[in-house]
Amino acid sequence: MKMHGKIVILSIGVLSACSTALFSADSAAPPGGGPRPGARDYTPEHPRSLAPYFVPATSTPRAPDKDGFLQRWLLLEPIRKPNRSNIVFTDSYIRDAFYTEYFPNQFTVVPRHGDKVTVAGEELAWHALDTTNFNVKLFRFADGVNKPTYGVIFWAVTVVHCPREMRDVRLAVGSNSASMWWVNGEEAVVLSGDRRMVMDDGVSRRLTLKEGRNIVRGAVINGPGMSDFCVRFIDENGDPITDLTLNVETVAN
């Protein structure tokens, strides 16, 4: 049993000034609530960290993993969107939530690592990261950058380079919780409701990836609990497409 209706506890942390410090040790973040027997807390020996879930993206392009999952992303620090439960994420709710403009050029910008936007008076930074898993653990990202883990919206962008034009491919997404995804500016996948992340949960209609640069953009909303996503392209048979490369700008403007 998990109480999804629990109260969201929004902790206001101090933004780390040095991104390298975010990878210094095992992650440690109390999701909220008082101490319990055996509970762990932050200590100098166990500082807050993005490791082992993420490593910094490099300037060297990387391919998807063997199963086609895209593991390099620019992630924006979470935008506060308090929700006590995920059951409110109807189709109309998430469309309203995701099509609200939080920062300029929200649906067109391809940010660089370290770029900053201001949302409701709070400065949020983009992070160029490689996930060490097939999925992108947004809860751990938010925790690692000392931002709220519950009641948030995440924005993610990656640049997919195709060696040739690819027709009839599909974007396949799983997310926790609800999410929307765009490929080259076109809406591709909508996952509404109190979602759990299941690979290939929602799949787009047939798409064409251009030769060269393609932009994949996503937004994930979560109330309480874990949050993550996994994204890949699949072919007509549902098999993963792996002859792609991912590259994001790792140098701040």
Binding site: M1, K2, M3, H4, G5, K6, I7, I9, S27, A28, A29, P30, P31, G32, G33, G34, P35, R36, P37, G38, A39, R40, S85, N86, I87, F134, N135, G174, N176, G193, D194, R196, M197, V198, M199, D200, D201, P224, G225, M226, C230
Partner: protein, 485 residues
Amino acid sequence: MKMRILATVVPVTLLLCLPPSARALEGEPFIHDPSTVVECEGKYYTFGTGGGGLISEDGWTWRGGAVRPGGGAAPDVMKIGDRYLVAYGATGGGLGGGHAGRILTMWNKTLNPESPDFKYSEPVVVASSDGVEDCDAIDPSLFLDPNDGRLWLTYGTYFGFIRIVELDPKTGARVPGNEPVNIAIDCEATALIYRDGWYYLLGTHGTCCDGVNSTYNIRVGRSDKVTGPFVDNMGIDMLRGGGKLVVAANGRLIGPGHFGLIDLGDGVQKFSCHYEADLDRGGRSVLDIRALLWKDGWPVAGEQFMGAVFQIHSERKGYALELAVDFVRMAGGRRGGRGAGRSGEPLTPIPLQTLAEVSTNWPDGNIGLRLGDYMLRPHQKWAVTPVTNAGGYLGSPWFKITIAGTDRTLTATADREVVAAPAFTGAPEQLWRIDQLVDGTFRIMPKAVPGCDEPLALTAIGASTPTLAKFDPESDKARWTFRAP
């Protein structure tokens, strides 16, 4: 055990015949996150979140009264040797906002709180989560491997991984040096079962604790090793969200979760679970017990059998159970080689033979039974009806079985045969237990046979001859299907 594949038409046909409101158990079966239903000293027990639980004398009518200390959430219980091992989570999966959890186990010689032997041992912690790691140590489930007697415990919820650890079946404590293994994500209330070389990990997906809007459902993956990887029918690892559906909302029951296997032997398996909301009980969370079927190597919930009008079809020869009365020909229709008729002739519907047309010639007293070609006739159509206020057996009420439109009742006799008695008296020899077998067929047993202590089942001892005999799980003789008449 003999494993057979049953054509999917049978349960589908059955489903079409079911009344729209198949309900869960009788009495006050109100519980959340029930432990696997277990039998102790002739009664059935299950424990739930927060302490306490339910007791049933017969498995059909339930009431409160089970006793479990420790509070917390979602316990499980298993009989090991002559003792009962209870596992429970001391915390509540995010209750209060934290994910630091502890799983404890404790023993008791009996589950009967009125027994002088009723005393729980001091609980011991067997697994935990520190609130930071990718796991929340709640929702334990026990599994005793039938191959080697090793005891395992799975636990966890949506916060991170489902994990498995090994326990010592003698002490209930963690095996020294054993490290947890991650086996699934994005589910909770897991349970392991074993069948035909496969370990099956069942997990509850969806939203808990939201009443009639809870999306709880039970899913499964399998592995040839107890520690996984567990993959579903599409080859998706449960570590990537995989899981084949076992049971979802149905009838007026919403949100099944917390699977617990009840293996009764002889090809009868059932499972306990709770529904987040029973629409007939104000949306309260209730216990249920369902048949468990196996199709193509995967478990799936059987239908809640609550009766209707059926042909009762023997798997031995395919004949239908019928009264041994004169076959009455129907009028109309073409005969012989010209039966196909000529193009353009009017197609006049032929009415079914009615009960009134034939029943006046039936004997007044007991009528013998036989098996014959099903011909849509009144003497072959049986009304199967739950008997109210007569109790039941595990997960179901007793049924009476009568020729539709009459009171002529399937009855076990003292010479271990079956007849159609002229009236239903409510006697034990007229109350029938109908269990769905793992292949989707049914076993039909009288509550009692006069002068006989042995449980007997309706059996096609000959292709055309029914009797009562000891159930043979390896044979089609005592397998029956209920089909639309």
